[in-house]
Symmetry: C2
Subunit: 363 residues, 2 copies
């Protein structure tokens, strides 16, 4: 063999090795990501969902794929979480889409819109009703890919310093409420206020605001609102079912192996299940404790709900006329929601209804 | 170096290799399992859940962990699925616990008991209310480890050839219904019949039975019951939320690496989410189609529900007095259920209630 031929063979051999070796390495490469949460650690259920997800990913990959979770403010403030992903500062955020309606109201469909589907219906829309595809298509503009990774169920309507007995009494109420719900509330005469979680309590205590909404019994009790506002309204008609997502930088997503993509998907699904289970397990205890502390539970007055329903759909018509993305997701989710409630009223609702009657009879 | 020393060194080297190499191999060993489903392929939503789970497991491991799914009857009949796992014929089954109440009524808590928690509440009990631990503790006797891997939501109450207007009219009705629900129905005067899925239609057509329950609109429509029994009752109070599990041979489970255990857990969680989403997405369309085909929807009469509620709790008291395992799971799940409905009536139920009213007003 001439030396030249030998080199050719070697080169071919090396090339073959070069092909084979990345194929092995690729199946479980070392990947380290940083996740910025929109939530503080004190929201242990929601914030904890990202921690759970990261734990599952590490377990499934023998720690080769590691996601380090940072609370809101540790890298960027909670409401800048997706900007940090879009521009590549971090690989992934854990957040609620409706925090970003200021950029585009279409973001809201990732979390909740007033009078939207309930939690299970919303999951069904994402998974089997085209929601995931439509949301991802919209998010491409922001260089983001979303995966469902948490939920809260129906939230509460919030804390009021004075009792509200009719729609007329909503007029002039200064309420901490943001996003699309704030726009709807404004149509009811409410003066919506944007206040960060940690600043709600002092504002409510001083009377700078008259009302505030947060999440539900478990999270609300920890912030102590019941000490300064006795009336706790329900339901949170603007949050009939709230979903959270991990939002991933699309290039970073595409850089993952097929196995790692799947691992992230399944870990997020389990985080969704666990987060919802935690809320469902913790809220009853917190509700009992709040009532024992003198909290007055009140349903929103019927005229308020009716007006809010109409105002919400007016807002949707206005936005849809100007925003094709919003219209596309709204039309899809609303058609799905309408079908869902036709079915829900038959089996799920009548079952819940009879079980609640039985619970009341047990006392 | 003497030849003997050389051999010693070689042996040490070989030992070192033997230690290092399994450590690498162990992180993603080749594993091939067979899964026997209790369901026929025609139940595409439920049967499909196991197929989805197997797909995720394969994706996440680059096909190194493969689970081959067999429909009911391909290896063993559907109702012998767990026997095949207990005795090691196959590694894993996909099934509903209540199929095995003949062995022990405690199995029912894995799927559903009459007037139990609804679907989301049941998940919360499994994940955060101690249900998983209690169920696994019970299943040890059968050499089984269970993981939640599918659900249906509230099922329908079934198909009746004649209208039932009161409890008195339930007396003497021959109904295809099994398990604990069959025992309760018997206390209402019903004559419960055990008939396999494929044999229900001819029995209902010939009038050998007067009524039959199966699942819900999507699955029921495919079996064509509406052609031979016009009255479709709701809700299925014996199946307020039905869960499915993969049940794994405990030695096979323990033989998995920690990564593979986690992979199976997360894949099952996603299968749960996807199966429920499919039911929630498919049932509304099927319900509309059934109604268009002349099906008469009927709620169970109030006196029937009341009597059934009482009879169920009588049955539970009887079994609890004799069966410590049943009592342990019953006490845990019932306390959890009672707390859940206290909370459910506030936010979730009033939200569903107002959305259903709005749906009716839209027409």
């Amino acid at each position: 063999m001439k030396r030249r031929d030998f080199l050719k063979v070697s080169a071919a051999g090396a090339a073959a090795t070069a092909v084979a070796s990345p194929a092995i390495a690729q199946s479980s490469p070392e990947v380290k990501w940083r996740l910025t949460s929109s939530f503080p650690k004190s929201l242990d259920t929601i914030y904890g969902g990202a921690v759970e997800m990261a734990k599952y990913v590490a377990e499934m990959t023998d720690n080769k794929f590691q996601i380090q979770v940072f609370a809101a403010g540790e890298i960027v403030p909670g409401l800048q979480a997706i900007d940090a992903v879009t521009n590549g500062t971090v690989e992934v955020a854990h957040t609620a889409g409706y925090y970003f309606v200021g950029k585009d109201p279409t973001f809201a469909f990732g979390a909740a819109i007033p009078f939207g589907p309930n939690q299970r219906q919303q999951w069904a829309w994402f998974e089997e009703g085209g929601g995931n595809q439509l949301y991802d298509e919209f998010l491409k503009k922001y260089n983001l890919k979303a995966i469902l990774a948490g939920s809260t169920g129906t939230q509460m309507g919030g804390w009021f310093r004075s009792e509200i007995k009719s729609l007329a009494e909503m007029s002039g109420v200064k309420m901490r409420i943001a996003g699309l719900a704030g726009q709807v509330m404004q149509k009811l005469g409410v003066i919506p206020q944007q206040i960060a979680g940690g600043d709600i309590y002092p504002a409510l205590e001083k009377g700078t605001i008259d009302a505030a909404e947060w999440v539900g019994p478990y999270d609300d009790e920890k912030l102590g609102f019941y000490k300064v506002a006795k009336f706790y309204y329900y339901p949170g008609w603007w949050e009939g079912g709230v979903s959270l997502h991990v939002m991933i930088n699309t290039e970073k997503w595409e850089s993952l192996t097929p196995a790692y993509k799947s691992i992230l998907q399944q870990a997020a699904a389990r985080a969704l299940l666990v987060t919802q289970a935690k809320y469902d397990a913790l809220n009853p205890k917190a509700l009992k404790s709040l009532v024992a502390n003198g909290v007055q539970l009140r349903p929103f007055p019927q005229d308020t709900l009716k007006a809010a329903y109409k105002a919400s759909h007016d807002v949707y018509a206005q936005i849809s006329a100007q925003n094709a993305d919003f219209k596309k997701l709204y039309d899809s989710q609303t058609a799905f929601r309408n079908d869902e409630y036709l079915w829900w009223q038959v089996a799920e609702f009548t079952y819940a209804s009879l079980m609640i009657r039985a619970a009341r009879q047990r006392g």
